[in-house]
């Protein structure tokens, strides 16, 4: 280990962030995953197989859509959307689930075990697990299972063993804790798959690399359209989707990149804006920016979009923030909801609630730009998951 950079990479560092902060029972299992992942990255057959699956099973590449009607309505810049809602399962999650499942297959594991906050990742894991002949177990908070009935039903149809976690609050971390506990006694035959970019090494590297295909496709599609974007914007909870969109666009000549975090609103100080309001700390196995009090106790995160409820972001975001390469902003819950609705009404694209946070910021920026300038927004998934969970139409005089 003479090369400090290689050493840092092997330890899963992103500058001073990242790492693998886990108790001893998990160290060796995760080291084995790291080794299998490194081997896969050096194996051309692996990359070919992953590429084929992405294309023939997942539906990649996803389109880049010009939001012409919305751009005209707002005035100013042209809006473009990267459409992860059109993937199999309707969210970006399946791209990350596929990579993790293929690594599990290489390691000759027979079961995928994961945690899911909204069920989106659980559905994705169920799909790829079924396709690869792997058993799938997903831990989810009981309250979340009850709230996300559609995803719970989809998981069951896919043969997922859904384990309800009875936990007194504090978001998804309890489900993750239960999943890790189960993993630590079954890792001989089990692969732990994470839904969150804020995870111990090698997961941020593995998930970040898997999802970077989103940005790579975008770059090519923008080139085909012969346009350069001024801004690229995506919502950030733990930041998997955003990291996937941003990674390939992060060069000096590229666009200004913006991560939109749930900032609550005028009536609440509660938020999920770890990269705006957080401080460096270690949580969920990684060193990153964490919402915490002065004593180092983790603060409960809040967002109207369940996928963004995280008090910590993936370590690459902490590094990008520190290096000034990405600008992180807070967006009000109400603005995000309005943006999501406007996209549906104007463009016929019913996107996830999470998408609304990035889009809301884009809608503020667009009028400040010329009509020959461009903004790229990421659509993380479809809005179908959230249907029926809110009284969305009542305040617009529509269906009561």
């Amino acid at each position: 280990m003479n090369d400090p950079i290689e050493y840092a990479e092997q330890r899963g560092r992103f500058g001073s962030f990242g790492g693998r902060y886990v108790p001893e029972p998990l160290w060796t299992p995760f080291e084995a995953v790291a080794q299998a992942y490194r081997d896969a990255m050096d194996d051309e057959d692996y990359h070919r197989r992953e590429g084929r699956w992405r294309q023939s099973r997942l539906g990649r590449p996803t389109p880049l859509t010009h939001l012409g009607a919305l751009s005209s309505e707002i005035g100013g810049a042209q809006l473009w959307a990267k459409r992860e809602d059109l993937l199999d399962g309707g969210t970006f999650c399946i791209t990350s689930a596929l990579t993790q499942a293929l690594i599990a297959e290489r390691m000759e594991k027979s079961r995928l075990l994961g945690e899911s906050a909204t069920g989106d990742f659980g559905v994705a894991l169920g799909s790829v697990g079924a396709a690869l002949g792997l058993d799938v177990t997903v831990f989810m908070r009981r309250a979340a299972i009850e709230q996300e009935r559609l995803n719970a039903a989809r998981m069951r149809r896919l043969g997922v063993e859904l384990v309800a976690v009875d936990a007194a609050g504090r978001g998804r971390s309890q489900a993750m804790a239960e999943a890790l506990r189960s993993y630590s006694i079954s890792w001989d035959e089990t692969f732990y798959a994470t839904s969150s970019l804020a995870s111990p090494a090698p997961y941020p590297q593995m998930v970040g690399r898997a999802l970077s295909v989103i940005g790579e496709e975008c770059k090519e599609q923008l080139r085909d359209e012969n346009i350069e974007v001024e801004y690229a914007i995506a919502p950030v909870g733990s930041g998997s989707f955003a990291a996937g969109l941003f990674e390939a666009l992060l060069d000096d000549e590229g666009p200004q990149i913006i991560g939109a975090q749930a900032g609550g609103g005028p009536e609440t100080t509660r938020n999920s804006a770890s990269l705006v309001r957080g401080r460096p700390g270690v949580y969920l196995g990684t060193h990153s920016l964490v919402l915490q009090d002065d004593e180092g106790q983790i603060l409960a995160a809040h967002a109207e979009a369940p996928g963004l409820v995280m008090p910590v972001a993936g370590p690459q975001h902490a590094r990008w923030l520190q290096e000034g390469r990405v600008h992180y902003v807070m967006v009000d819950d109400a603005d995000a909801l309005q943006a999501q609705r406007r996209l549906a009404r104007t463009e016929g694209i019913f996107a996830s609630r999470e998408t609304g946070y990035g889009l809301a910021y884009a809608l503020k920026l667009a009028p400040t730009l010329r009509s020959d300038q461009h903004i790229l927004v990421g659509i993380s998934g479809t809005g179908i998951r959230g249907l029926g969970q809110d009284d969305e139409e009542t305040d617009e005089g529509g269906i009561a």
Binding site: S184, I185, V290, D294, I298
Partner: protein, 266 residues
């Protein structure tokens, strides 16, 4: 600063009875009670006291200790308050080792230097950080060991022999075998005994097992294969039940552990 674990460690080959380490969640149900419980368990025969500093998300602890941490959270236990309590204990008891354990974010929030300094000054002998593996511990390990405290290394069923040998080289004080996950013991007794017999060849340090011990018989059965036991959840469970005579029951429980451990040495 005198390191009370080192004498314990040095004395170990001459010891004829297994070590009894007992854990308390600091501030469960409030700090003054924890201070009293420290006396009770030491009087009943504990060789060392571990104080678990509560963390909001003790993800790697089992349900009993998570509930104990939840109860202690409402007390908003600060480092300063814990240190005052330990200093007070030290005024009465200059010998019994005190181990402080927590999660790394609590250490970072205070700063690694201030944290190590504050603990050393209050009379702490060793520190254990649940989510800080040896590979990530560099800076804090120096801070802790530079102040003559030990940074306790855990080992587990998943720890390979090669890794154990590497960890043992750098370890100080004692090593703790975390042979359960939450409340589930993860290795059959015979395999546990074989593994421990094997590992003990590679370190002169005592290996104390945390194996979800719930009774004197459990303690004796575990300690037969190693150098002692660490008992945490059974004590938190007893405190959770409270009742008027909790101190009496706590003392009786620890005394029973002591007797059973002493018996296997005879």
């Amino acid at each position: 600063m005198k390191n009370r674990l080192t004498p314990l460690e040095n004395a170990f080959p001459r010891r004829t009875t297994p070590l009894l380490l007992t854990g308390l969640v600091a501030g469960d149900p409030f700090l003054e009670a924890t201070r009293e419980y420290m006396d009770v368990i030491v009087d009943a025969g504990a060789d060392a006291v571990e104080l678990i500093i509560p963390f909001s998300d003790p993800a790697y602890h089992g349900p009993v200790l998570r509930r104990a941490c939840d109860r202690a959270m409402s007390e908003k236990v600060s480092w300063e308050a814990v240190e005052e309590m330990i200093a007070d204990f030290r005024r009465d008891d200059g010998n019994t080792p005190v181990i402080v354990s927590t999660y790394y974010n609590r250490v970072l929030a205070r700063g690694t230097t201030d944290c190590a300094q504050g603990l050393a000054e209050s009379g702490v002998d060793a520190v254990r950080v649940t989510d800080l593996p040896a590979e990530e511990a560099g800076e804090f390990k120096e801070e802790v060991e530079g102040r003559e405290m030990a940074l306790i290394q855990s080992i587990a069923p998943s720890t390979t022999k090669e890794r154990f040998r590497r960890l043992a080289k750098e370890a100080s004080g004692l090593m703790i075998w975390t042979g359960h996950c939450g409340a589930e013991v993860t290795m059959p007794p015979a395999e546990f005994r074989d593994r421990l017999r094997d590992l003990r060849q590679y370190t002169p340090l005592p290996i104390v097992a945390s194996m979800n011990v719930e009774s004197g018989e459990d303690a004796a059965s575990v300690a037969g294969a190693c150098h002692g036991v660490l008992v945490q959840s059974a004590i938190a469970w007893l405190i959770e039940g409270l009742g008027a005579n909790v101190e009496e029951r706590l003392g009786a429980f620890v005394a029973d552990l002591r007797v059973n451990l002493d018996n296997i040495a005879e």
